[in-house]
Symmetry: C2
């Protein structure tokens, strides 16, 4: 492959030393205007581009942040990514995105990659199957700033930016109750995810604040379209079927809706549904889905801003922060 133009080439052609070229290019006052102009002109003629790798080695920074995300295919994560890019980009940082595909093994390899590639900081949303966090601990041992987003893990020295799951769930369930629903099922994420716990708390609180007793029988572990299709079939056939379903994400709600319609239930008359995400899908399905907007784009911007501020701190000795993003219920046809 073609060798790139270096300052050495410029120095040789101009008969000056490489340090002069280096200084001239960055407007160092030690260099005379004449020399500086000559260097700059030749540099642009030759198409000189500084070698980032050499700079990175010198400064031991890469100006790169690593992002670990379960799947970019999910609307929420892709919108987070947009926010991340926006901020990173404005601050001259590059972004390396890796998907765990909800696989723990893959996640471990990705974090190792972060270490060997010497990213300056890490944004991470770990997989649903991650119960062991030693791979993240290694990143922290290396004093690489890390911000968890959406899914958090309190005990590590890492900031987190999360969705206000509690209040999102509370809003959603309160809304359903205001529509007259009494038997509200909750299709929930696995319990070990903090978001699962918090949404459950919000669900419970909304029920209890409205005089409805909480029953664990109404909570199902189900957070994908396919699972929703499967379990809804039996749930919705029962004589004491729920009159509303609050689902942990839009696709799950839509899966349930599909089954409901197939069973001849009318939406929203016989059964009301609320999702969580405000994804594209939520206005593609019919009727359009009432859902809780998670503001992924803003979350991405927030998390990246926080991470960059940590990187700029240049010390690992800071108080860990936990930021919560507001949610907003979007009322549509399914309620």
């Amino acid at each position: 492959m073609k060798r790139q133009v270096t300052i050495k080439d410029i120095a040789r052609k101009l008969g000056v030393s490489i340090s002069t070229v280096s200084r001239a290019l960055k407007d160092h006052p030690d260099i005379s205007v004449k020399t500086r102009e000559a260097v700059k002109e030749l540099a642009s003629i030759l198409g000189y581009k500084p070698n980032m790798i050499a700079l990175n080695l010198k400064h031991s920074r890469t100006n790169t942040i690593g992002v670990l995300v379960p799947e970019v295919e999910h609307y929420f994560f892709s919108s987070v990514l947009n926010g991340v890019e926006e901020v990173a980009y404005k601050n001259d940082f590059s972004v390396m995105v890796f998907q765990s595909n909800e696989s723990y093994m893959r996640e471990v390899l990705i974090t190792q990659n972060f270490l060997t590639n010497r990213v300056d900081g890490v944004l991470a949303s770990f997989s649903k199957n991650t119960h062991d966090f030693t791979h993240f601990k290694k990143i922290i041992e290396n004093e690489i700033p890390m911000v968890f987003f959406d899914r958090e893990r309190g005990e590590l020295h890492a900031d987190s930016v999360i969705v206000d799951d509690y209040s999102g769930a509370y809003q959603a369930v309160s809304h359903l109750i205001s529509k007259g629903c009494k038997r509200i099922a909750f299709y929930s994420a696995p319990r070990h995810l903090v978001l699962g716990k918090n949404r459950l708390e919000g669900y419970k609180a909304a029920l209890e604040d409205n005089g409805i007793t909480y029953s664990p029988d109404m909570v199902y572990s189900c957070d994908t379209f396919d699972e929703a299709e499967k379990i809804s079939r039996s749930i919705l056939k029962k004589h004491d079927r729920p009159d509303a379903i609050f689902a942990v994400n839009d696709l799950t709600a839509i899966g349930a809706m599909k089954v409901a319609k197939k069973l001849g239930l009318r939406v929203p008359d016989d059964i009301r549904l609320v999702g969580f995400e405000n994804s594209r899908s939520s206005w593609i399905c019919e009727p359009e889905l009432t859902t809780v907007d998670q503001f992924g784009f803003e979350l991405g911007k927030e998390a990246t801003g926080l991470l960059l501020s940590r990187i700029k701190l240049n010390t690992f000795d800071y108080e860990v922060e936990r930021r919560m993003m507001k949610t907003q219920i979007v009322v549509r046809g399914t309620t």
Copy 2:
């Protein structure tokens, strides 16, 4: 921040030279077993990780490929990305993903970033608003291998891996004709994209092969949900409205379907629809959308494999290749 362990640290503690450590770590035969074992043991105790940046500088490679994509939010592109990661990953390459958001300006900046970050190769799908290709020429001038995917540009020294748009469109339109459709509208991508041209040709050919005369009045420039909602309103109200719509992607087809249903048309009895993508959305809408599967995952794998083979060639003197990915029509409820 914490300084990473280097071979220098190991050398000092062991009282040997850094070259000995370097060689010991890579099982060089010059080093005695005793020394080698000692070095390796200390390395693992100290948690030594080779500094990729230094290696990159030495070898002037980064083991990184840059990916330029319009928007990861689109199902097709996110599935391509999955394929890219899969292959890159197996070959110990990292992937840097950048979204142009269909902005030409952004795209130019991203390609500059590829140059300064010294990626070893580029996978690119340019934006709809790109008419000037000098930014790609710069990459090629630097002899960085490039593979265009999905959207190609013939005149540059770059391979391309594209969807067989012609046959995909031909299949889709033939299918509609076999269902008895006579007036088939085509919601098309901008003409300057090769994929737009090829699908139009496939559309024309399918019509003509079945004795239907092609009429330019049936071709509309429309490739988003919003545009489809807007233009379909008037198109579907006309007394000589089409009896089928073939759309350039799923969301456009779904936008049209939504309007059709609002106008009281029955799908598929009054109007049939075919999309292009086989996205998640295509089985969320109702009825489920007949669509042409583009096999994004396979396309991503193919393009990355080709790119990596070019990188490994280690010369820029190769014949440019153009690979076409087969498509497959998926028949569902809208036809």
